[in-house]
């Protein structure tokens, strides 16, 4: 599950993420991070479900972070798709690829829901779920 963490000024200096990693022993992966002077946003991938995921989420909340579950992902309309590839190289995490027949493959696990492909598709075959 992907989580978006929102830091405020108070907790920006603290090692919240490494605390959670050492407490839960999960290999949490940072997908995207935006830090400014007094706020920060981080998109992380937590390889856990159910109780374990809840535990992770609670730990972040206790540390004062706002936690949002990211379930947004995209859908490609195969009827509309012309297999051009305009969505492929702009995807920052390479979640969209083309096979040997140039048909597009979408890897939901990798997708971070940024929406770049939605805008890049010239025939509006991709929509955000």
């Amino acid at each position: 599950m992907k989580l978006k963490l929102i830091y405020s000024r108070e907790n920006l200096g603290k090692p919240v993420l490494s605390d959670v990693i050492s407490k839960t022993n999960l290999p949490i992966n940072i997908l995207e991070a935006k830090i400014t002077l007094n706020t920060g946003e981080m998109l992380i991938d937590v390889p856990a479900v159910g109780e374990k995921l809840k535990e992770v989420s609670n730990l972040f909340q206790k540390a004062g972070l706002i936690v949002k579950e990211i379930t947004r992902t995209i859908e490609i309309d195969r009827e509309k798709c012309i297999s051009c590839g305009a969505c492929v190289s702009p995807c920052p995490v390479r979640a969209i690829t083309q096979d040997l027949n140039w048909d597009v493959d979408f890897d939901e696990q990798k997708c971070v829901g940024c929406g770049i492909c939605v805008d890049a598709c010239p025939v509006r075959a991709i929509r955000m779920l």
């Binding site: 012309i82 590839g85 305009a86 492929v88 190289s89 702009p90 690829t97 083309q98 140039w102 805008d119």
Partner: protein, 508 residues
């Protein structure tokens, strides 16, 4: 070329058509012909294969359709008209118009354009027609509002002034901003590469000497039959940027091969499917038809430079581009196409089937397309304002160690919003805005270097104003310091300067 261009040395058009009619013609797609040449050698393959088929399916902005609506009762001489709110060109007779692919809906903008109107017409959908007129003695009607489908039209003729570029430049982006261009979405810092064109399937590259392609050549166009009617606009064959002008009956075409499209923040266009049969009339044509992706090269240009002459980042082959990754500065950059390689293959195969079934004959062009054409840029006559004409030269600058409160006082007294920070030699090293200062005072910061922005967006004095306006829009800023070649500050250009000194121009 010592020998006459277009010489029919191996076979004539008549011989090919005889074989097509008797079902004996040997027709291969360009992909298949490449394999045949690898197996048999060029000479033998050229003797055995009569026709090589090609295909491409990409965004072709110079496309559109001539439409004749027929006369209403009472009749109208349309002065302006719209199809689904997209304006069509009306500088023609009473009920003729031209709907261009890049015209955009007056109500939906980027969402819907002339390309979509053409796709909807071809799909048989109902289209709203709206027209205005001034009324004449012979055409009294002043307006019309009705709906129609392609079947109601007398003529719907696709006529594209420039299609099927032989090859096209690929694109990347060196800036730190995401760019939305006619080459698609370009991520910052060389984040990706986009390219166009079908490479070894590209119709015009398969006869790059233009020995068989000319006026009257029968082709696959938008799923129907079309004709080449001449060289395309911007035809530049000596640099392998040849183009063609084509025409075909829209009523025979299919939306699978004519698709309305939008390039985000750029505009609307039309994806057009084109396939050309290449008759193997001599060995030069055969050699061109046998060119592989790894023998066809194009330049990857930096679209971060918004100029007519964009710098080349790398020369790459279509096989490299199609592989999905290209090496630039020891880094692997993802590459992907904007035109559809899948549909290009499908078109080459469809054309092959038509010829094999005997429903599509080849013809000798009435006149070959020129294989050389001067390629001219547009020189803008008259003097256009440059940065140096508009910028403010009397500037206030500060040093990194200046006290924030002192600086804030000066800014307020002089009424300026942008404060460049320079080193002891007068070289630009940072910038502060009045907004940064207000924040800094509130946060009790002391010296400028604590708050200044180090990555400064700047301009040069000989740059065009429009280029700098676009740069300011991209970075969402209202002023840029102007520097010389060695980064010494010489002035500042703000949106205020621009609107004050260039009153007749509108800034978005």
């Amino acid at each position: 070329m010592s020998e006459e261009r277009g010489i029919e040395k191996i076979r004539t058009y008549e011989e090919i058509n005889q074989k097509i009619k008797s079902g004996d013609a040997v027709v291969l797609t360009a992909d298949e012909f490449i394999k045949a040449v690898e197996e048999l050698g060029l000479e033998k393959a050229a003797k055995e294969v009569d026709v090589v088929t090609t295909g491409t399916f990409g965004a072709m902005c110079s496309s559109g359709a001539f439409i004749n609506f027929g006369h209403s009762e009472p009749p109208i001489k349309m002065f302006k008209c719209w199809l689904n709110d997209v304006p069509a060109y009306k500088g023609l007779a009473a009920v003729d118009c031209y709907i261009g692919a890049t015209a955009m809906s007056e109500t939906k903008g980027f969402e819907y354009g002339g390309g979509d109107v053409i796709e909807d017409l071809v799909s048989g959908k109902e289209i709203e027609l709206r027209a205005e007129a001034y009324g004449t003695d012979c055409y009294p009607r002043r307006s019309i509002e009705t709906t129609l489908t392609i079947n109601d039209l007398n003529q719907a003729i696709l006529l594209n002034p420039r299609n099927a570029y032989e090859r096209y430049n690929a694109a990347t982006n060196s800036t730190d901003k995401i760019l939305y261009t006619y080459m698609g979405t370009l991520l910052p810092h060389y984040g990706n590469i986009t390219y166009c064109g079908a490479g070894q399937l590209s119709p015009l590259y398969k006869d790059k000497g233009f020995e068989t392609i000319g006026i009257g050549t029968r082709i696959f166009l938008g799923g129907g039959i079309g004709y080449i009617i001449g060289e395309g606009t911007q035809h530049n064959p000596q640099n392998q940027f040849g183009t063609i002008m084509v025409r075909g009956d829209l009523k025979q075409m299919s939306a699978r091969y004519l698709r309305g499209a939008t390039y985000n923040k750029y505009g609307t266009t039309l994806y057009v499917g084109v396939g050309i049969p290449i008759p193997i009339i001599n060995e030069r044509v055969a050699a061109s038809a046998a060119l592989r992706d790894d023998e066809i090269f194009t330049n990857i240009l930096d679209y971060g430079v918004p100029s007519r002459s964009r710098p080349t980042v790398k020369k790459a082959s279509y096989s490299e581009l199609k592989s999905g990754k290209v090496q630039i500065n020891q880094k692997e950059i993802p590459s992907s196409s904007l035109s559809s390689n899948k549909v290009a293959k499908e078109i080459a195969l469809t054309l092959k089937n038509w010829i094999e079934q005997g429903t599509f004959l080849l013809n000798r062009p009435a006149e070959l397309i020129p294989n050389h054409r001067e390629f001219k840029p547009l020189e803008v006559k008259g003097r256009e304002p440059k940065v140096r004409d508009v910028m403010t030269r009397e500037i206030i600058v500060s040093k990194p160690n200046d006290d924030i409160k002192d600086v804030a006082r000066t800014l307020i007294a002089k009424g300026v919003d942008h404060l460049p920070i320079v080193d002891n030699e007068g070289k630009l090293i940072g910038i502060i805005t009045s907004w940064d200062l207000a924040k800094a005072v509130a946060q009790d910061k002391r010296q400028l270097h604590e708050i200044m922005t180090l990555k400064v967006v700047s301009a040069k004095e000989d740059e065009a104003i429009d280029t700098v306006i676009r740069r300011m829009e991209q970075h969402n800023i209202s002023g840029v310091p102007v520097v010389d070649q060695s980064n010494h500050i010489i002035g500042i250009l703000t949106t205020d300067d621009i609107s004050r000194k260039l009153v007749r121009r509108v800034i978005a």
